[in-house]
């Protein structure tokens, strides 16, 4: 359950800009119109020198002012392939680990019902991917935190050299080791409850959307079969009409209607894929949300570790200074066995410990700041995400209802016509 109450600590002090509504006229999108206009097939040699075919997408940008003033300005354009979008997203995730990264369309066709092509080159797939890529850019460009990123801007405007520029940022170095991140989840002591709840929610969202997508694909399969079997009526009625005198006309026209009924399902289901795509966006978003929550666990854990480290070093110094061994240490044991060390040695060690303590204190300060920054920005973005999700998914559900209505209207039409034909029998 999404926890509303947990935001008390986090939201305090979040600036008004990183809040609720994603408006088209904020930040980059205010200054610039962006669209993914076309897709094209290209051939080239890949990294290991083999010939491959791939699709590139045309990103067109235009100054928003020009459009507003009615100036006919040709758009700037840049061709990008899917892998470059992936690179951009990876960069954004690592550079801004407190933002819920907008989703890309799926890499491979999943939740496919059997007649739907799973081929990445299929024109319908390419078209839906184009739309998905455009949605990604629009979301990023209207995100208050992300939209001002330079790399993003260069992605949209500089076709050559962009890749080098991304790698030059060294963003890959920010990747957390899997092991560290994994361990943090189990060993962190006091993560904020709101983040824990949100992580739980993200897992539920992921599970529900994928179950729904799977069930929808199965239903699509079944509906397809029902409609197509009616095509057999078309064939048989047509043949039968040749044999009958009085019934012939009625049967013949009924047969035609059955043929068109059978054919109508293809378009209906193709349209429904757009609905599935919207759900898939939130499947992807759920993972991004979870990543942000786990990042919180990690920053919290690192802070706890640093604090713990500081405490233990201070303790060591205390023991060394006062001679009182409060806790077990090998030094204590060896002191007992071999006698205490010489005063000069003690001084040296005290000095070293003081330095270490200073470092540890710095570390705690840094880690605290990191954690704080993450908490503030992440929680604000999570609230923004939540609103966007509620809006988007609600619209998706309504558009799904509209699709069903459309399908029913078509069905009514066909069967009315068929009935008329039967009456002529």
């Amino acid at each position: 359950m999404m926890a509303e109450n947990g935001k008390d600590e986090a939201a305090a002090g979040s600036d008004g800009e990183s809040s609720l509504t994603v408006e088209r006229d904020s930040n980059l999108l205010r200054r610039m119109e962006i669209c993914v206009a076309e897709a094209e097939k290209r051939s080239g040699k890949n990294a290991i020198g083999m010939q491959e075919t791939f699709t590139v997408y045309l990103i067109e940008t235009r100054s928003a002012d020009a459009a507003a003033e009615g100036r006919a300005q040709p758009p700037d354009s840049v061709w990008r392939r899917y892998s470059e979008f992936e690179l951009l997203r990876a960069y954004l995730i690592l550079t801004y680990p407190f933002f819920v990264a907008p989703p890309l369309p799926e890499k491979r066709a999943e939740f496919v019902w059997h007649k739907l092509s799973a081929d990445n080159m299929d024109p319908d797939f390419v078209e839906r991917r184009r739309i998905g890529l455009e949605n990604f850019l629009l979301r990023v460009a209207s995100h208050p935190g992300l939209s001002n990123d330079k790399i993003l801007y260069r992605f949209l405007t500089e076709e050559a050299c962009w890749k080098e520029a991304v790698y030059e940022t060294g963003f890959q170095d920010k990747a957390d080791s899997r092991l560290r991140a994994f361990g943090a989840t189990f060993r962190v002591r006091s993560p904020q409850k709101c983040f824990i709840d949100m992580k739980q929610y993200s897992e539920e969202l992921q599970s529900h959307t994928s179950q729904l997508l799977r069930a929808r694909a199965r239903v699509a399969d079944r509906v397809y079969a029902v409609y197509k079997v009616h095509g057999n009526y078309g064939r048989v009625f047509s043949e039968w009409s040749g044999v009958e005198k009085v019934m012939g006309d009625g049967l013949q026209s009924a047969g035609h209607h059955m043929d068109s009924y059978a054919a109508s399902i293809d378009e209906i289901l193709e349209e429904e894929e757009h609905y599935a795509d919207q759900l898939k966006e939130y499947l992807c978003y759920a993972e991004a949300l979870r990543a942000v929550c786990r990042k919180h666990e990690l920053t919290q854990f690192e802070l706890e570790t640093a604090s713990q480290d500081l405490v233990s070093k201070k303790q060591q110094r205390d023991e060394l200074a006062t001679g009182m061994v409060r806790t077990f240490s090998f030094k204590g044991v060896t002191n007992k066995l071999f006698g205490q060390e010489a005063p000069e040695q003690r001084e040296a060690r005290l000095t070293m410990l003081d330095e270490l303590i200073a470092e540890a204190e710095d570390s705690v300060t840094v880690k605290t700041a990191e954690r704080e920054e993450h908490v503030q920005k992440a929680w604000a973005d999570i609230l923004r995400f939540k609103e966007e999700k509620d809006r988007d998914l609600r619209e998706a559900l309504l558009s799904y209802a509209a699709m069903q209505i459309n399908m029913c209207k078509k069905g009514m039409q066909v069967w009315s016509n068929t009935r008329e034909s039967f009456l002529k029998m």
Binding site: H208, A215, R222, Y233, V243, D390, L397, Q404, I405, F422
Partner: protein, 419 residues
């Protein structure tokens, strides 16, 4: 001839009627020699035919015989278990002793009646009975749905016979409807019927043998009819198969739709603002499930039985065509014998004349009955198809209403949220 079955409740009086000569006497006005008391011309016979959507709605203007099959009851004996049906007849015909009759009959009695009718009128089209067993679907014989389907089909059978200008005046039909028969010793009846069946079987074999010899000059009209019968049989079987397949696919769709609906409900539980629209979609899907179920049921109850009956009719038509061919073959054989024999010409000539006469009457009876049958078939199937199409329109209308009300409630809510 079709298999003769054991009828457990035949009285001595009934056995007498099995003599063909007696029957010929009784039924002289109605079978081959006379087209019967009802109008002769095909067009007036066609006019007797009204569009009947439902076998229960019986058009009152031309009918004087109303039959219903009711109240199936289980009977358990030492040897077997069977169902008895009550057959209620109401009539204004003068040749019936009373205006109302009520008797109890079982499936085998119907089989007996039908085989008698086919025997006496080999080239008339006798409506088929529902099948003895239903193999597919593993329906138990005494399952309620099966019994109800069978009851309806038996009623339709009797109704069709009662509407037939010739068959409805058959003595056997009258006896079936009216005779209060007592159950006699079953083993005695079994052996009597068995002997009769054997003797009939001999006749049947001879008739079949004639047909193997083949007909030499089948009149063109019957060639055309033969073609039609074969084509019709193919097409109606195909339509039947397609319909069964549609029902199967619809059932699988229904199963998946139910599961699909529940994924929305489950998701709604972990959402706040989205809870309501998600539940809304779940409920819409569920209601569409109910509509789908109704639609499947309608198909099963209206279209499938109608198609099935005409699949059986197609078989009947083929048998009728074979019998007509046999009659012609018999005539041709005797005719040839006449042409080659020099002596005994008079006797042979009489025989040949008789056979020629029989053949001509059979042919015209068949032609007439065929065009009558085609009109009935057209009316029946048209009604079944129209009803199915209407049901489909209704199905989509209802689903449309469900989704529209969801949209309206959501959009209305969003407007009020903004205010």
């Amino acid at each position: 001839m079709s298999g003769h079955t054991v009828s457990a409740d035949i009285s001595g009086h009934m056995l007498d009627l099995d003599e063909d000569e007696d029957l010929e006497v009784f039924s002289k006005n109605t079978s081959l020699t006379d087209e019967g008391p009802v109008p002769n011309s095909p067009s007036s016979m066609v006019n007797q035919y009204r569009l009947e959507d439902d076998e229960d709605q019986q058009d009152t203007s031309a009918k004087d015989l109303f039959i219903s099959v009711e109240d199936p009851e289980s009977h358990i004996t030492a040897i077997e278990t069977y169902i008895m049906y009550r057959v209620v007849t109401k009539t204004t015909r003068s040749d019936f002793d009373s205006s109302e009759f009520e008797v109890r009959r079982r499936y085998q009695d119907f089989l007996w009646l039908r085989s008698k009718l086919e025997e006496i009128h080999p080239t008339l089209i006798v409506h088929p009975l529902p099948e003895k067993f239903v193999m597919k679907g593993m329906v138990e014989r005494f399952n309620d749905d099966f019994i109800e389907t069978r009851r309806k089909a038996l009623q339709r059978f009797l109704s069709r016979i009662s509407e037939h200008p010739v068959l409805s005046h058959s003595q056997h039909f009258k006896v079936f409807l009216t005779a209060q028969l007592q159950l006699l010793d079953e083993t005695f009846l079994f052996s009597m019927s068995y002997f009769q069946a054997c003797s009939r079987m001999g006749e049947t074999m001879r008739a079949m043998a004639n047909s193997v010899r083949g007909v030499k000059n089948r009149p063109e009209e019957f060639d055309v009819l033969q073609d039609y019968v074969e084509n019709f049989s193919n097409k109606i079987s195909s339509v039947d198969k397609v319909t069964q397949r549609i029902i199967k696919e619809q059932r699988e769709y229904l199963d998946e739709l139910r599961q699909y609906s529940s994924t929305y409900s489950q998701w709604a539980e972990s959402e706040e603002n989205l809870c309501e629209p998600l539940k809304g979609v779940a409920s819409c899907a569920e209601r569409c499930c109910n509509e789908t179920e109704e639609q499947i049921q309608h198909l099963s109850e209206v279209l499938v039985p109608a198609l099935h009956e005409y699949v059986l009719c197609a078989e009947t038509l083929k048998a009728v065509m074979r019998r007509r061919d046999n009659i012609q073959a018999e005539f041709e054989v005797k005719s040839d014998t006449l042409a080659s024999r020099k002596s005994d010409l008079d006797a042979l000539q009489d025989e040949v004349d008789e056979l020629a006469d029989r053949m001509e009457k059979s042919n015209s009876a068949l032609q007439l009955d065929c065009s009558r049958w085609r009109n009935t078939m057209r009316a029946d199937l048209k009604a079944a198809f129209v009803s199915s199409a209407e049901k489909n329109v209704e199905y989509y209308e209802k689903c449309l209403a469900v989704w529209e009300s969801f949209l309206v409630s959501q959009r209305g809510e969003s407007i009020s949220q903004r205010d």
